[in-house]
């Protein structure tokens, strides 16, 4: 049986467009609002990345740190993250959801325990920022056994040999980091250059769904739409920060932005 992530990509391919993948942080700005946000933006987004926040992130820029801090201040715990996913999935069973975060939380929770909770709540995939290949081999295998996609990351610094190995061991989705940056950096490489790298990776195995992330905003998204999928994260976190500052409702604000992102890649 095809996974929900694979099905989402298949649908997008039929519509000849990239999958729109959003990233928001669980508990930002409240547990309830982060669930409402998922409910609203899932009308337009194809796959939802959902961050479980960590207070010492080594690869996130200011925007995602801000969202994580808000969520942690509100006392978000892993238990809450799974509960939000479960509630979301009740109404949206076919929408794939990917948890993203740092390994220490999984390590403290226990790998098996964590995966069990993923399974029970309906998580479809995992991105673990600080568990690179080949250190992630065992954990990725455990994920596969539970039919949870472990999403491998590739970066502009990844050598071709290493890419081949990673792709070979990857599941149905691979994440290409567009540039040397933390999340939320300004796009400092031209979309043309990014797509060149993207195509090189695609040639290694055209069947794998390859998505591009980092530095993607309303301004840059349409220039990259030949990819299988595009991830927008920091920009969304920024919108939440902004709307809170201006005392606007972050939920409706975010829904509007994701709608307009979607229109740009149709």
């Amino acid at each position: 049986m095809k996974s929900k992530i694979a099905l989402a990509f298949q649908n997008c391919k039929k519509e000849k467009r990239p999958a729109l993948i959003t990233y928001t942080v669980a508990g930002d700005n409240t547990k309830n609002n982060s669930l409402k946000i998922l409910n609203e933006i899932s009308k337009y987004a194809d796959i939802l990345e959902f961050g479980f926040p960590h207070n010492t992130p080594i690869a996130d820029g200011g925007q995602i740190q801000g969202s994580s801090n808000r969520a942690l201040k509100n006392g978000i715990k892993l238990r809450d993250v799974f509960q939000i996913v479960k509630k979301f999935k009740k109404n949206n069973p076919s929408k794939p959801i990917i948890l993203m975060g740092y390994f220490n939380l999984i390590y403290q929770n226990g790998e098996n325990n964590f995966l069990k909770s993923c399974k029970l709540s309906g998580v479809d995939g995992l991105i673990i920022v600080d568990l690179p290949y080949p250190e992630n081999k065992n954990f990725a295998k455990k994920c596969k056994k539970k039919s949870i996609s472990f999403i491998q990351l590739l970066s502009p610094t990844t050598s071709k040999d290493r890419m081949k190995k990673i792709i070979n061991d990857s599941h149905e989705m691979i994440y290409y980091i567009s540039m040397l940056s933390t999340t939320g950096g300004k796009l400092k490489v031209s979309p043309k250059k990014i797509l060149q790298n993207y195509n090189k990776i695609k040639r290694i195995n055209p069947k794998k769904n390859l998505v591009i992330g980092f530095g993607i905003t309303e301004k840059t998204i349409s220039s990259l739409k030949s990819a299988n999928g595009l991830v927008v994260g920091s920009m969304l976190c920024k919108i939440i920060s902004k709307s809170l500052k201006m005392r606007q409702n972050p939920v409706t604000k975010l829904a509007k932005v994701v709608y307009s992102l979607k229109k740009k890649i149709l």
Binding site: H54, N55, A59, D60, G61, L105, V129, E135, S155, T157
Partner: protein, 410 residues
């Protein structure tokens, strides 16, 4: 499983294929982007440590620039005052710049040059790592950027001024607790974005494996000097010898103990216990913290049940770190070293006593080690020898000392 330290292999090399010590400490928990720069650095360092020319270069700068050997002196007055063990100090604070951080900084600049990098970045807590990196960068013609917590910038002003004088740009880190832990995170984030042009120097024996190795390999100079000095003083290594060192990240202790690994010398690491009446501390080994992942490495780390890194507090910015080097976790579990803590008040009164009786003025970090020596010495026989690594100079703490003790004299 009981962990064992192997005799015929340098401690820094006693890891498995995943770069883990004892199967559970260290490793490389890093974003994909850093895999290659870290691999490249690992290959380069592996080559350089075997390169006779490079070693000669290192020794040359250690001798002429750092100032080797640093003095090894007996603290007669302190010994008499306490009555008991003979107390000595390895006065590493006499090294150029005033602390052991100069060894790691110098080696990193030499490596950066070999790697063809023109920029170097580093983190700092007490400011010594940053000061030394800025000094060495200036000497070797590298552009330097230092990440420092905003709280530490305020409390370690003299070192901040020194960095500025050396032409480094200082980036105040205002996230989280605004101390060393956040400075290291921010520095790593900067490196993720700039690893193609920039070399990163982690200021202690923490972080991804290669940084632990380079740092401990550099500070090992301390014990290379000391083992010779001890043999000159005593004719041999004394039978009952205690080597006492403060530990925050653990770089000076790793260097202070390295050459004594296969001797009978007893290693005592002293963590920062924090204020007497506070639950906060910076002593993960003493207080039984669990293993977690911080800054790319598995280690005992102060954290909550979920795995969020915990808050710390210490009067000593250099020890104010929630984690501890994987090397020390390994030494602890292998029972090769034992770890204890001294609180802020004990460190301050140790500073007061040592600087009053002796002609040295240890910073608040080694004052923690002196506090332990002061506790132990009276209980020991005069045939026993205690050596404290006086690894930093108090000048950087003059504001804090003046505030806490009313005056600061040099």
């Amino acid at each position: 499983m009981k962990l064992k330290i192997r005799k015929n292999l340098a401690l820094i090399d006693q890891h498995d294929n995943n770069f883990m010590y004892g199967g559970k400490f260290g490793g490389n928990f890093i974003p994909e982007t850093l895999k290659k720069p870290i691999d490249d650095l690992t290959k380069l360092f592996t080559k350089l440590r075997k390169d006779k020319k490079f070693l000669k270069e290192r020794d040359h700068y250690f001798e002429t620039y750092v100032g080797a050997p640093t003095p090894f002196i007996k603290l007669d007055n302190l010994t008499d005052h306490l009555g008991g063990a003979q107390i000595y100090a390895k006065v590493v604070s006499e090294a150029n710049g005033g602390a052991h951080k100069i060894y790691n900084a110098t080696v990193h600049c030499l490596i950066a040059k070999k790697a063809g990098k023109r920029y170097i970045v580093g983190d700092t807590g007490a400011g010594y790592a940053g000061k030394m990196l800025s000094m060495a960068a200036k000497k070797f013609g590298l552009k330097c950027k230092i990440f420092m917590g905003a709280k530490d910038i305020k409390r370690q002003r003299p070192n901040v001024e020194a960095m500025k004088k050396n032409g480094a740009s200082i980036v105040p880190v205002t996230t989280g607790s605004q101390t060393l832990v956040d400075a290291v995170s921010e520095c790593m984030r900067y490196w993720v974005s700039n690893c193609d042009t920039t070399h990163m120097c982690v200021g202690s024996t923490v972080g991804p494996n290669i940084f632990i190795k380079i740092c401990a390999w550099s500070t090992a100079q301390i014990s290379r000097e000391l083992i010779k000095q001890i043999k000159e003083e005593f004719g041999r290594i004394p039978k009952k010898l205690k080597l006492i060192n403060c530990v925050g990240g653990g770089s000076s202790a790793a260097g202070f103990w390295n050459e004594f690994m296969n001797t009978d010398a007893e290693f005592i690491g002293v963590e920062a216990g924090g204020p007497k009446n506070s639950n906060l501390h910076a002593a993960p080994l003493t207080n039984g913290s669990k293993i977690g992942i911080l800054h790319g490495a598995a280690q005992y780390v102060i954290q909550d049940k979920e795995g969020q890194i915990g808050s710390t507090e210490s009067i000593s910015a250099g020890l104010d770190y929630p984690g501890i080097s994987p090397l020390h976790c390994f030494l602890k579990d292998a029972k090769r070293a034992r770890y204890t803590s001294a609180n802020d008040e004990e460190a301050l009164s140790a500073y007061k006593l040592v600087s009053r009786l002796e002609n040295i003025s240890p910073s608040l970090e080694p004052s923690h080690a002196f506090a332990e020596a002061i506790k132990l010495a009276p209980k020991l026989d005069s045939s026993e020898v205690i050596i404290v690594n006086s690894c930093g100079d108090s000048i950087k703490d003059k504001d804090i000392i003046r505030q806490k003790l009313g005056s600061y004299k040099r």
